[in-house]
Symmetry: C2
Subunit: 586 residues, 2 copies
């Protein structure tokens, strides 16, 4: 080893010891006859001190070091006269006797500080420098801790980590596959897995009743902000289980991880049906750190000649306590917010229930004090409350109210950073009808089982929209962390499912013969779940949904690796060997 | 849960308990009024018993079950009258009161027994059934245990598990890359990593001084027996270390894994230089479970008018104790063995030093008793020994002697299954000259550092064949388990290396700009190692080198997934989106 200690571990107890440290020059200061250098490694920062009087040559050598030089320094640990209580090593410094430059450094293109001055693409190009910043370093260390805690829990529950293949068969259903041309079989391709879904089911058929894997998945989707073409999943499956067993097992896992990594005890996870989530929060991943549920107002608010309401399929409101004194400007701001294309409301109506018991609204022309009081009583809008109301098409209004609710939660500081409110969403629809393609799609994926009571509908291919799935999502603070289902384990039922999503018998056979066959050789009942590991880390560590910060070498929003400059052209020889031609000119 | 207990956990202490088990019907026997079913799950086998007198309908239902049916059975745990001491559950049986068929099964295409009657491709096609066989199931469970022990050790040594990308840039050097066409960038491709080599080095530059990953790697090589196009590596890297530090750290890891998984204490790993391994064992991965080193005989055996020896660049022999009484047939067999094309010797000479002190050889015409005695004394071939001698070109003779030595070790039962003899091979040549391509190739890879004393040779681009590398392989029982090196961390030296292997400045820049640049921003000295995880498991668990048995869903020797039928054609739509044309007709 080049070192005896790391830069983070020395303290007053080491005083008098002779040590050798290695690391990077974080900064240096010359104070008269003294030079101080902050030496940084993964574990912390130690202060090196050089004295002009004691050793002029050495001190001058120290003064010649630039930022990010890699050095080795040997010397004696001394108690500092000027202690820094904010630093674990702040009580000591190293009086250096020997200094070696292991590698010099050019001046970095941006500062290696918590708040860097580098732009996104520049920092991605020099990701190895960006990762030296404490915040990024800690993100990856925490990610490792999350992975450890996940494995610890699942290993303890007798799950077996089994690796599944990456070079598989293309069976696109929903997202696009990335494909890999086969040199040995001209004209044929492997595909990279969008998830190991069918493999984990086959492992259940093979009898490995509890499987998990932290596994890379690939989706060639049109990119948008913070989507990565490759991402990591905590992928799990269990045999001989019902939905409740899966929920309990993975509630346990998430609690274990929070306990181990954040020293946080999570509450019991409530279970909410999809229908209730849509009705109460306007979306299937509600942030439960605050209340403010949607109140449906159709029955109470129509019939007062206010055309906007009378014509609306749905009128809904949220009641914001303590906000009755919102100013005109604040209310205009909110109106602008709901009219944004991403939110999509046509306008907003408010009713202020003032502390003195009176009412003011933006629709006083149509509703008198008694009407307003009735509405406030219905919604529980006590004195001091502000009622915000949107109207229109049902789905759009729910979605807009959901956005408004989140905005109000944020404005009022109700979405607290260290507060975690997980919940399960269950009873999703099995199928979604797509108006454009005139066909049904599986809402989760085509291996999801209907709820037992709805199996006949699928078998008989009727009332498809009404079928509920044995599917569940785990949501924390408004972010979907994971999702899964009880699977179909019967060939006939699987064939019904393929039929429902418009796959012909031939297509089903061509794509999925292996799993249809497997179901005929003693497939046990089974179910599972997959967590988006990058997103899980992002939520757990920072309580935010910005996954790129938790990936060592992410791609930019155009799917490009700025550091490697990939994708890139390959040689004519490579193309020839693969029997491929590219058609770039088109 | 569908079950209260697993099939492996019940014993006499559970007698009288009411339990529910789930599993597969392994076999059933009708004995007069009784029916016995062996029910199998991942954890073991439990005996179910049905009594015709007690419940005729139930017993008949039991008799209707076929092999591999999935069932659930509830009943009372009873002490057996006829105990089976070979089975953990052999003291009890379950008197079944309720039986449910969870899924029937067609008759499997081969028997689910330790010795199956299915051929290779058939078992791969139905891999989910093949994996039900105890031996395959146990292989995957052991693989999981090996992975756990590896992680446990490395986590304890402060290594951080960091995931590196799979969609990277094609920089073929040696083996071929698998490539992935980019839909968003027509004509451009990602490549799948052959190893995360450059990424782990960049992580060292980033300051993560100890990294590891169990990571999939991809090589599009011409396939041969037991090569997989995708394989898993235990990939590790450390900063601020010298070769000795790496050897110690990973000797510790391998010992830890053997201790945890096999309850075996390995001896200290000896270190052997490449040159010595080649001289003594004729190869760079000697099996040290037995001696029988190669003895060079040039000085002692030439000059007796035996042309074959006199003309040979090298004459070498191995001395086989206790084999002097080998029969003519046995010796002919060995001669046939060494003449096989894979071994490649022209012939074999033997000298038998008989128990009575006399000598017999196949070259008695040229060597008298005194000559033979001299040779035997020189080689230490005591009475009762057999000396086997090959001659010819030096490299070929060494290689043939190595094969002969392994063959003799096997014939004499010296390669014992539960005996593990690890060693490090060090001081490999840095470069190998390829006569065909008229250029040097890196023997490990182009990021390997020369031994410090040989750096000037590389810088000055001279005596390239003489340069030794700071590289090391871990060998156990004749199989290379892992290999690594101290890396170059200086841009100029890296450029010298690229020059030595015939990469122009432009090519080096085009392929490796990112790492050359990284070396200019404070790259620390670093080194690492990678273990072939599939091979490691194969060696550890079975002490054999047949990796396919330790992979859940392997491909066959033609790189084809027989179960999925991959690779396969993709749709015209997929090709169009990727701006690709295939040239199958050529």
């Amino acid at each position: 080893m080049f070192y005896t200690h790391t830069c983070g571990e020395l303290n007053i107890k080491n005083a008098g010891q002779k040590v050798t440290l290695c690391g990077w020059v974080q900064r240096s200061r010359d104070l008269g006859g003294m030079t101080f250098i902050d030496l940084r490694d993964r574990y912390g920062i130690a202060q090196l001190v050089f004295n002009m009087e004691a050793d002029k040559a050495l001190c001058e050598k120290a003064r010649s070091l630039g930022r990010e030089y890699v050095i080795s320094a040997s010397g004696i640990v001394m108690e500092r006269s000027n202690k820094n209580k904010n630093l674990p090593t702040g009580e000591i410094e190293i009086q250096v006797e020997k200094l070696e430059v292991l590698n010099p450094s050019k001046t970095p293109p941006f500062t290696i500080e918590d708040h860097s001055d580098g732009g996104d693409d520049l920092r991605l190009k020099y990701r190895y420098l960006d990762l030296r910043r404490t915040i990024n370093k800690n993100n990856l260390i925490m990610r490792h801790q999350v992975a450890r805690a996940v494995r610890e829990y699942l290993d303890g529950q007798k799950f077996i980590d089994i690796e599944t293949p990456f070079l598989i068969k293309s069976t696109p259903e929903g997202a696009r596959d990335f494909v890999v041309p086969s040199r040995m079989n001209p004209g044929q391709f492997y595909a990279l897995p969008q998830s190991p879904q069918t493999f984990k089911q086959l492992l259940m058929v093979a009898g490995f009743d509890r499987y998990y894997q932290l596994v890379r998945c690939f989706r060639d989707e049109d990119l948008r902000a913070d989507r990565q073409p490759e991402f990591t999943q905590i992928d799990c499956e269990m045999a001989f289980v019902e939905q409740e067993d899966v929920l309990q097992m993975f509630e346990g896992m998430v609690k274990h991880v929070f306990r181990k990594v954040k020293n946080t005890e999570l509450p019991v996870f409530p279970v909410m049906k999809y229908e209730d989530a849509m009705r109460l929060y306007g979306c299937d991943k509600p942030d439960l750190r605050f209340g403010m549920p949607i109140i449906e107002l159709n029955d109470i608010i129509k019939g007062k000649s206010f055309k906007v309401f009378d014509d609306a399929e749905m009128i809904g409101g949220i009641c914001v306590s303590g906000a009755s004194e919102y100013t005109r400007k604040q209310l205009d701001d909110l109106t602008d917010f709901v009219k944004r294309p991403q939110v999509g409301a046509a306008g907003m109506v408010y009713i202020r229930h003032l502390p003195d018991g009176s009412f003011k609204s933006s629709v006083d022309k149509f509703y008198n004090a008694a009407d307003l009081e009735k509405i406030c009583t219905h919604t529980g809008a006590a004195e001091g409350s502000l009622l915000l109301i949107l109207a229109g098409n049902k789905n759009k209004t729910r979605s807009a109210l959901s956005a408004l609710r989140l905005e109000m939660g944020a404005r009022l500081g109700l979405r607290k950073k260290e507060d975690y409110k997980p919940l399960w969403i269950t009873d999703f629809p099995l199928l979604e009808y797509n108006e454009e393609d005139k066909r049904y799609y599986a809402m989760h994926h085509p291996f999801t089982s209907p709820r037992p009571e709805d199996i006949p509908l699928l078998q008989e291919n009727r009332d498809l929209s009404k079928i509920k799935a044995s599917a569940y999502d785990l949501v924390i603070n408004g972010t979907e962390i994971g999702g899964g289902s009880i699977r179909i384990h019967n060939r006939r039922l699987q064939e019904s499912m393929f039929r429902a999503i418009g796959l012909s018998k031939e297509e089903a056979e061509q794509k999925f013969a292996f799993i249809l066959n497997a179901f005929e050789y003693g497939a046990p009942p089974h179910g599972g779940i997959a967590f988006g590991f990058d997103r899980f880390c992002s939520m757990m560590i920072a309580n935010e949904d910005y996954i790129r910060e938790f990936i060592a070498f992410p791609k930019n929003n155009a799917g490009r690796d700025m550091m490697l400059d990939a994708p890139s052209e390959i040689t004519a020889e490579q193309l020839r060997e693969l029997s491929l031609e590219t058609k770039r000119e088109k």
